[in-house]
């Protein structure tokens, strides 16, 4: 249980619990750490999240607001119907730069495709 920062191809904030007033500061902190650790993007994995209240949504909006001009999408994996309902009501997917997907692989694919392309002159 809890909220963990998992190192992977992209940092993943793995939520395995409710996110509400009681632990939103942890969630907020993990999001900040993930953003710092993942300049090429990070993933919020709510697959095992059981509930997300307005404080949790506020934390997501805060990190989105900080990064919305970076050109890298904020990818959220939502597998839980309860959490999905809450996110649907606030229409997070209507915000530019927020992508909601069903699984981690899909999330990584989105981030790979949005990675800045660098070319080397021959």
């Amino acid at each position: 249980m809890g909220i963990e920062l998992v190192e992977d191809e992209y940092p993943i904030v793995h939520v395995k619990d409710d996110v509400d007033l009681s632990n939103v500061s942890d969630f907020d902190r993990r999001l900040g750490e993930a953003a710092k650790a993942g300049p090429a993007g990070f993933i919020i994995d709510l697959t095992e999240g059981t509930y997300l209240d307005s404080a949790g949504i506020q934390a997501i909006l805060r990190i989105w607001s900080e990064r919305k001009d970076s050109g890298i999408p904020l990818v959220i994996v939502v597998g839980n119907a309860k959490v999905r309902t809450v996110l649907d009501i606030v229409r997070l997917d209507q915000l530019p730069g927020i992508r909601m997907v069903a699984n981690l692989e899909e999330a990584k694919t989105i981030l790979r495709s949005s990675a800045p392309v660098t070319t080397t002159e021959q």
Binding site: D20, S54, I57, K82
Partner: protein, 452 residues
């Protein structure tokens, strides 16, 4: 007296038979030697002790006696060298293996016997067998040494025990001193702890007062966020209620309003600011007034939200956002146009009991400047009821299960044809019961019915 003593001495010298008898009765062996160390006389005790006869003894050299058992170098030295110079010796101890009586320790006393001038010199040799005495002395010495050793061992043991005792006393003393120091440290720590507890109590009390003050301010603000009694018209009776979360929670930012627009329509507004306390209530107050002012002249709820959003986004609300549902009701036709800014969908309870939800929605206010808000519509027919609420209803929880839209449907399924105030109360009660009386969020509910 002097004459009498002299007479006695004279009589002893003059009576050889008396001296002989005395010698015979002495229990110690005695032997008389001439100046060549030949035996002149030996007493009975001598013969008995050394198991020799008078014939084997008298006239022989003392060294030849008893198969030369007296040929003792130490005795020779004594008789040949020492006696001529000192005329007597006493207590000369000789230890020797005698052929017949075995190894014995003898104490020898010798004396030259004074005789008349011209008479041959005689030597009286007294022999005392002190073997047992010496053995006893040796045993005694051994025993004494053993005793001394025991005493020494015991003394050493006692000294060691004493040292250990001293050490223990010292250690005990050190332990006592350490204990005393520990006690003093503990006492000091206890005093510090008491001081800290006292300080914490003081801070806690200050915080409690500050919290109460903030809660009071938020409550006052909250009251200002809702009209005392929402009123549209007799044909559209309305009811609303606001219920704070359980006592320990901070006041939230729920608000609602009903007001006339510039034309004949009425505006119905309900909203919720993320966060708690005075700040949330303050933002809610601001949002309510801004939306109300903008909506008054706006052609539609979506336009009212878009314009309001522009203003709210410039205010800077420290990442707070506002969910809101704004509906314009045309009382004549029952047409409701609405826009939802991230707010839970309004419910419509038809007169025949069917339940619908106003599902069109957009992102919350105060998140993204310049964004578009979608708009939907529905009609209220006579007997229909529309129910607006905040997420405190749907997010009421029981064993981690949300009340949800399903909970609202369950309640409304029993509310057909009921009055707005009853529906309000039933919905609130159901949400409260679902949470076991511990609502985690504030609840605002507004219900409007069309009679005819």
């Amino acid at each position: 007296m002097a004459q009498s003593t002299e007479k006695n001495q004279v009589s002893i010298v003059l009576d050889p038979n008396l001296a002989l008898n005395i010698v015979e009765t002495v229990r110690e062996p005695l032997v008389v030697l001439d100046e060549n160390l030949r035996v002149v006389f030996a007493n009975r005790s001598f013969y008995n002790t050394f198991k020799v006869s008078e014939e084997e003894t008298v006239g022989r050299l003392i060294y030849e006696l008893g198969n030369r058992q007296w040929d003792i170098p130490a005795l020779k030295k004594l008789l040949n060298d020492i006696l001529p110079r000192r005329t007597s010796f006493e207590g000369f101890v000789v230890e020797h293996d005698f052929q017949i009586i075995g190894r014995r320790i003898m104490m020898l006393n010798a004396r030259e016997v004074h005789r008349k001038p011209g008479e041959q010199k005689l030597i009286l040799l007294a022999i005392e067998d002190v073997t047992e005495q010496k053995q006893a002395e040796t045993e005694l010495e051994k025993y004494r040494k053993h005793l001394e050793q025991l005493v020494e061992e015991r003394s050493s043991s006692l000294e060691a025990a004493n040292r250990e005792l001293q050490l223990e006393i010292e250690q005990h003393k050190q332990a006592e001193e350490e204990l005393q120091r520990a006690n003093e440290r503990l006492r000091a720590q206890a005093e510090e702890l008491m001081a800290e507890i006292s300080e914490r109590k003081r801070v806690q009390e200050a915080l409690r007062i500050a919290y109460e003050r903030e809660r009071h301010i938020a409550k006052v603000l909250q009251k200002a966020l809702v009209p005392a009694e929402p009123f549209i018209s007799d044909n559209y009776p309305a009811a609303a209620l606001y219920c704070a979360a359980y006592e320990e929670a901070s006041v939230g930012g729920d608000f609602y309003d009903v007001f006339h627009l510039k034309d004949e329509r009425m505006a119905i507004l309900i909203g919720d600011v993320s966060g708690k306390g005075v700040e949330a209530a303050s933002i809610a107050s601001s949002a309510r007034n801004i939306v109300r002012a903008i909506a008054y002249t706006a052609p539609s709820p979506s336009v009212a939200f878009a314009r309001s959003n522009e203003i709210l986004c410039t205010q800077g609300t420290d990442s707070s956002f506002i969910t809101a549902f704004l509906a314009f009701l045309d009382p004549l036709t029952g047409r409701v146009t609405y826009s939802s800014a991230g707010h839970p969908p309004a419910a419509i309870l038809r007169a025949d009991g069917k339940i619908e939800f106003a599902a069109v929605g957009s992102i919350p206010l105060c998140v993204l400047p310049g964004c578009h808000f979608d708009e939907g519509e529905y009609y209220l027919q006579p007997g229909d009821v529309t129910i607006l609420y905040t997420d405190g209803v749907t997010e009421s929880r029981h064993d981690n299960v949300l009340f949800g839209i399903e909970g609202i449907e369950r309640v409304l399924a029993q509310e057909a044809n009921k009055e707005p105030d009853v529906i309000c109360a039933d919905l609130l009660n159901a949400a409260q019961e679902w949470s076991g009386g511990r609502l985690l969020d504030d609840i605002a509910i507004m219900v409007i019915k069309r009679r005819a």
